[in-house]
């Protein structure tokens, strides 16, 4: 077994996954928001909802496209780089990811076409349903991914067959695993919050520029309002995820807390520089009793430290420790912004507080950073296991993979993803900057020659009508 092929495979998987997750985190929430806007537009007929819908649909298209093409990479990497994992656990993870492809991926991919190109070709109810289908597809996709990943965090409902093959004995235990059912809402809420802050930040940006004021106002208020409700719920689910980690993955929990030795009562390390080699923290700032309170809701409980486990079973501490703190920091910032924003909304003058608009504008990466660091915490904290307690990462990698092979593929992915990221960021930025296109005249028509026909024969209030199947003939 070549150690560097393993290391490079890990880097490649982490890199492609981290890059991929940015886009679903954005589109899951955006799809739900688009459905909401379309329903509001149909119900109220206020043009602002339709303008916002069209505006965000373009951005959704770019992000969704990138999410799809980078997601396909993930479907292959289990076999290319982690063939031992695939051979042994494919019988459990494979069907779960199979459900993802069947129920979610196919659904969203098919209706995405209708969403982007079909408004004029289908009845209104069908278009709204397509929005819903895409939103449902993205959420279902996340569900199956979370079930599969949660099984790797806390494997249940299986027996070991010949050749180390996992045999599922209880599918309902796997699908309805309590771990999956706290981590799934945590992920979905993370996605919703990511989108909510992007929407609010875009609104704040346009308000600061003084452009598209009425639309920007709606974006700012909707984004912050949704976040004000969702952030506290997210903190609650975050706490529940922490609870399961405490009970079921004690090594991960100890790594997050940078707790090297058993403590009773335990203190909580707020910030420190964990020193893995000497098994201690440098420059630690900690609060007594708080560690026991967080871990077990009591002031006297004993909390387990990393040295209670064999060194070969301990995760690296640095990444989970800092990633977790960054995630929580982002969450608290989001809470502050959302609640103060709501306060200013009710007391009036939200749109005049330029410092607050700047703060909201700068908050757009918070959701992405929180999602990524949350995943780093979960995945690095699970090491040295791929399937916790069952399969070590070193045993999961393709045995005959050579270092040059992985080096080449990693370089190719780095180059292509850098390109995608640059281009995607530039195009999304331009779309955001251009702002909502005004109905019914479509101001942007001059710069966008592909658009004009979309309005012929349909004033915004008029029903699109039955499918115009003979278009262009």
């Amino acid at each position: 077994m070549d150690v560097s092929a393993l290391l490079l495979s890990r880097i490649q998987f982490a890199f492609t996954l981290a890059f991929h997750i940015i886009f679903p985190a954005f589109t899951i929430g955006l799809a739900a928001w688009l459905t909401f806007l379309e329903a509001l537009w149909l119900a109220t007929r206020r043009p602002v909802y339709r303008r916002l819908f069209d505006f965000w649909l373009g951005i959704f298209g770019v992000a969704f496209g990138i999410g799809v093409v980078t997601g396909i990479v993930m479907a292959f990497q289990f076999g290319t780089n982690w063939s031992e994992l695939a051979r042994r656990a494919g019988s459990i993870q494979g069907p779960l990811l199979g459900y993802e492809s069947f129920t979610a991926f196919a659904l969203e991919a098919a209706f995405f076409g209708v969403l982007m190109f079909g408004r004029e070709k289908v009845p209104r109810w069908f278009y709204l349903m397509s929005c819903f289908m895409v939103a449902a597809g993205t959420s279902l996709s996340a569900f199956w991914i979370m079930v599969s990943n949660s099984w790797m965090q806390w494997p249940v409902g299986f027996a070991m067959g010949p050749g180390g093959v996992f045999i599922a004995t209880d599918w309902s235990a796997i699908v309805f695993s309590p771990v999956a059912w706290v981590r799934y809402p945590h992920m979905i809420l993370a996605a919703y919050l990511t989108s909510a802050f992007c929407v609010a930040a875009t609104g704040a940006w346009h308000l600061l520029r003084g452009s598209f004021k009425s639309d920007a106002r709606v974006m700012l208020r909707m984004g912050l309002g949704i976040a004000a409700i969702l952030v506290p719920v997210q903190l609650l689910f975050g706490h529940l995820v922490g609870d399961y980690t405490h009970d079921k993955q004690p090594t991960k929990f100890a790594a997050i807390e940078a707790r090297w030795h058993d403590e009773q009562p335990a203190s909580e390390v707020l910030i420190a520089w964990p020193d893995q080699e000497h098994e201690r923290n440098r420059y630690a700032v900690s609060i007594p009793y708080l560690g026991s309170l967080i871990g077990s809701m009591s002031f006297h409980s004993k909390e387990v430290g990393l040295t209670s486990f064999p060194a070969a079973d301990r995760p690296p501490v640095l990444i989970p420790f800092f990633a977790f703190r960054i995630m929580v920091g982002c969450g608290l910032l989001m809470l502050g912004l959302a609640w103060f924003g709501t306060l200013f909304m009710t007391s009036g003058g939200l749109e005049r507080k330029r410092w607050f608009l700047w703060a909201t504008f700068c908050s757009f990466p918070l959701g992405f950073i929180a999602t990524l660091t949350g995943w780093f915490t979960a995945e690095v904290g699970r090491q040295p296991w791929t399937i916790y307690g069952q399969v070590r990462t070193a045993d999961a990698v393709t045995p005959f993979l050579t270092t040059p092979q992985v080096a080449v593929s990693l370089l190719v992915f780095c180059a292509i993803y850098a390109l995608i990221f640059l281009a995607g960021a530039v195009y999304i930025y331009r779309l955001l900057q251009r702002g909502p296109v005004q109905l019914p005249s479509f101001e942007g028509a001059a710069t966008n020659p592909k658009r004009p026909l979309s309005m012929t024969g349909h004033s915004p209030g008029v029903r699109a009508g039955a499918p115009t199947l003979e278009m262009g003939e």
């Binding site: 290319t80 991919a109 098919a110």
Partner: protein
């Protein structure tokens, strides 16, 4: 249960090859289009459906992963480098749809990615099939061929052949979805492409005979396999009649029939092996629990629904394209 999933896998592969085949084919023909308007028409002819078509590739991968994990882990790791390059190619191809119209000054670059990505993806898929037909070096269920064990003249020839086949499907699709000069452009290309495909098929056949591949013995042993070439010949005849009379869509359907015939030949000659001649379908299958779990939900319920709404989406986007109306 195993037979059901084997059929589902076969169906998914066939759907991927024909559906994304025409997308990739259009991508390959893209630079040969007479002008920018024609290119827009070509892109619009596939942009609402390419995403759904590519999903069949993911479905193929996940059926392999869930139902035949041994094949999934063996094949994908054996074909490491080509698959990575194919994924990169598919990424570039897919991005062109969204990025082409949004770029300023980089359109040529995305066009190049679109065409190059289509060529490379098609070529690698063909090469992989060729390598599989020729037989990968597998001992005791483990691949021993090294990073470039899949390269051979036969496999590379299959790669070229599949590119031509995809072009054929692409041009056939264009006769259906486009009109006027794009359509006549497609009709001009089709006979040449068909002749090239038939020449390649013959060359591959002769080479297979010359190499004395084990697959060939199975063809000689099982005379009922002759059914598939007959289907192919009939499809080719209808094809040339349709070209002469300028019937739209028919060339695409004939091309699909040709693909189905070729695929059927391969599938039957592999049987009961999945990776010839080392892993049988029985050996590859996951434990019964996994098969049943996926069967009662995804197999009985979701797969048919998926097929239905795929059809619905094709119905919505039937007829000629109007890129002005369809571009978002």
């Amino acid at each position: 249960m195993i037979s059901f999933w084997t059929c589902a896998l076969g169906l998914s592969i066939l759907l991927y090859v024909t559906l994304d085949g025409f997308d990739l084919g259009v991508g390959m023909l893209f630079p040969f289009a007479p002008n920018e308007t024609a290119r827009r028409h070509m892109l619009a002819a596939i942009s609402p459906v390419w995403d759904g078509n590519e999903t069949w590739l993911v479905i193929v991968a996940s059926i392999l992963f869930g139902i035949f994990p041994l094949v999934y882990s063996t094949l994908l790791s054996a074909l490491y480098l080509p698959l990575m390059v194919m994924l990169a190619a598919l990424i570039l191809r897919g991005l062109a749809f969204e990025f082409r119209y949004k770029s300023r000054g980089f359109r040529r670059f995305w066009d190049f990615g679109f065409t190059g990505g289509s060529f490379v993806a098609g070529f690698i898929q063909g090469t992989a099939v060729g390598a599989l037909v020729e037989g990968l070096a597998i001992q005791d269920g483990r691949y021993v061929g090294g990073p470039f064990g899949w390269v051979s003249p036969f496999a590379l020839l299959c790669g070229l052949g599949l590119c031509l086949g995809y072009c054929l499907l692409g041009a056939g699709w264009l006769t259906y979805r486009t009109a006027e000069d794009v359509q006549s452009f497609a009709f001009r290309l089709l006979p040449r492409l068909m002749v090239a495909v038939l020449v390649f098929l013959a060359a591959i056949f002769v080479l297979a005979l010359a190499l004395d591949l084990r697959v060939m013995h199975r063809w000689l042993e099982q005379p009922e396999l002759a059914l598939f070439p007959v289907v192919g010949v009939v499809a080719s005849c209808i094809f040339f009649v349709a070209i002469r009379k300028h019937y739209p869509l028919v060339p695409f359907l004939c091309g699909s029939a040709l693909f189905a015939a070729a695929f059927g030949t391969l599938a039957v000659s592999f049987y009961p092996y999945m990776v010839p001649f080392s892993i049988t379908i029985q050996e590859a299958a996951a434990p019964h629990q996994s098969l049943a779990f996926l069967f009662w939900g995804a197999g009985v319920f979701v797969l048919p629904i998926t097929l239905v709404y795929t059809l619905v989406v094709y119905f919505i986007f039937k007829g000629k394209v109007d890129p002005d109306a369809e571009y978002h």
